[in-house]
Amino acid sequence: MSHINVDGKQLETLELFEVEEVRNDFPILKEKFSGPKNSVLPLVYLDNAATTQKPQQVLDAMQYYYRHQNANVHRAIHKLGERATAAYEDSRKRISRFINARSHREIVFTRGTTEAINLVAHSWGRKLIGRGDEILLSEMEHHSNLIPWQLLAKETGAVLRFIPFSRSNGTLQIGHLEEMINERTRLISVTHMSNVFGTINPVRGLIQKAHDHHIPVMLDGAQSVPHLPTDVQELDCDFLAFSGHKMCGPTGIGVLYGKEKLLEEMEPFQGGGEMIGSVWLDKATWNEVPHKFEAGTPDIAGAIGLAAAIDYLDRLGMERITLYEQKLTTYALSKMREISGMRIFGMAPFRGGVISFYLGKIHPHDMAQFLDSKGIAVRAGHHCAQPLMRKLEIPATTRASFYFYNTFSEIDFLIDNLKQALEYFGYGTG
């Protein structure tokens, strides 16, 4: 058996999990829809880059919280308040261990990746970015790692610059990095894994190079943290943002990891309860990190749900998850490339289980509609990456994205229906 190499890291050949057993943990995967002529269509969920499904363990943890622990955190003297606070702070520690942070104080709870990036743009950017300063992004960013910096640039007069990607295979043209860095570069913020191409960017080298110039690096980990083992000390990134709902956790909870030193020098994000030290009518002092960034009652149940999701992922093993998804993706790519008229966007040597494609002349929305009629859930559109689509000169793609609960037979079913779509829309294979 071959070893699988992800971003320069050899993964040992591991014994994998039984996918059918794993699927039993996810009640929603048993959903069925009514199809034509009284047929029954099982759900084939291939929209995992958008959001993932939740195992019973996560649902149970959240229900347990509401049944036995619910109170506000950090305020109440009563027993329930103690329970809620302990559960919430334990979740923070759990997440800290999962990404190997130095301290749980480096874990800020947010609503998701988007809010985490906005937090850095607001609290770090406004304080430390001035007119003419440069922020380096890439051309393949999700809007959530573009618009917050556009807003900051508009406000401060900073300049945004973009590392290009290769149109032929969707890799980041990292060779341009050296010439793009100059004495005005203040921050580099890039995606670890593209939500369109599936490309896993070579962030280790990028971070090293940036640090040679004393430039901090923020990683958008929305697509990487759910699928790859993540060690922030080894990566040495300065900020990392990710979302709970893309890794079996609930919606509404996400994480900003930041090096403590950086978090310390940042201004608060929002004002309100919890984030304060002492308050007078005309002034206030701030709570310590990470609480300085968590104004108001947080999503306590969400944090607990996310910690339960992480327990679940760790039980399967992140390396096993990566390995299984690599096999699934390699299989899907090889089968898809056999279909004539198939264009796949993103053929990077290191890539995750996100496949964007265009088949024949079938518009992605028609393709997604056709697949939906067979019970297959995929995404169609610009995937919140309009500048990327513009560069590829396409209006949209269809995107199938996998998680560890998807099966090889689901891929076969997808392939079969892609061929049927060609017949349905009358574009043959010519």
Binding site: H365, F370, P395
Partner: protein, 147 residues
Amino acid sequence: MELDELYQDIILDHYKNPHNFGEGEASCTNVELDNPVCGDHIKLMLLIDENDIIQDVKFTGSGCAISMASASIMTEEIKGKKVQEVRAIIEDVLGAMRGEKEADNLDEHGDLIALKGVMKFPVRVKCATLAWHAVRDGITKCEQEKK
């Protein structure tokens, strides 16, 4: 819901062989509209004569089968009609798509009947209405430019 209710033969025929597709003469500024949900794009060229009759209409653009077929059907429907009459048809179509008007109004208008299938697929309504919003904007623009 059956897929064939959405992709009726009329729709697929118009999609594969769109009528009035291409550049044309226009009596006022062309209207361009996007549907950001699908990435559909349409450009509409309207030629309205002094008697307020739509002499010609052409469209270009790209998009899903529903948006392109709806545009093709729209051009067939409005060509040669008076602006006032066209306005009423536009309101019938948009009203039906929003669920505010009787969809049966569309039955007497030839291929328009095929758009009724879209109503069962709420996410696709925006695809179907794009061309109709474009022609409504176009007529308004022409009237404003005439003044």
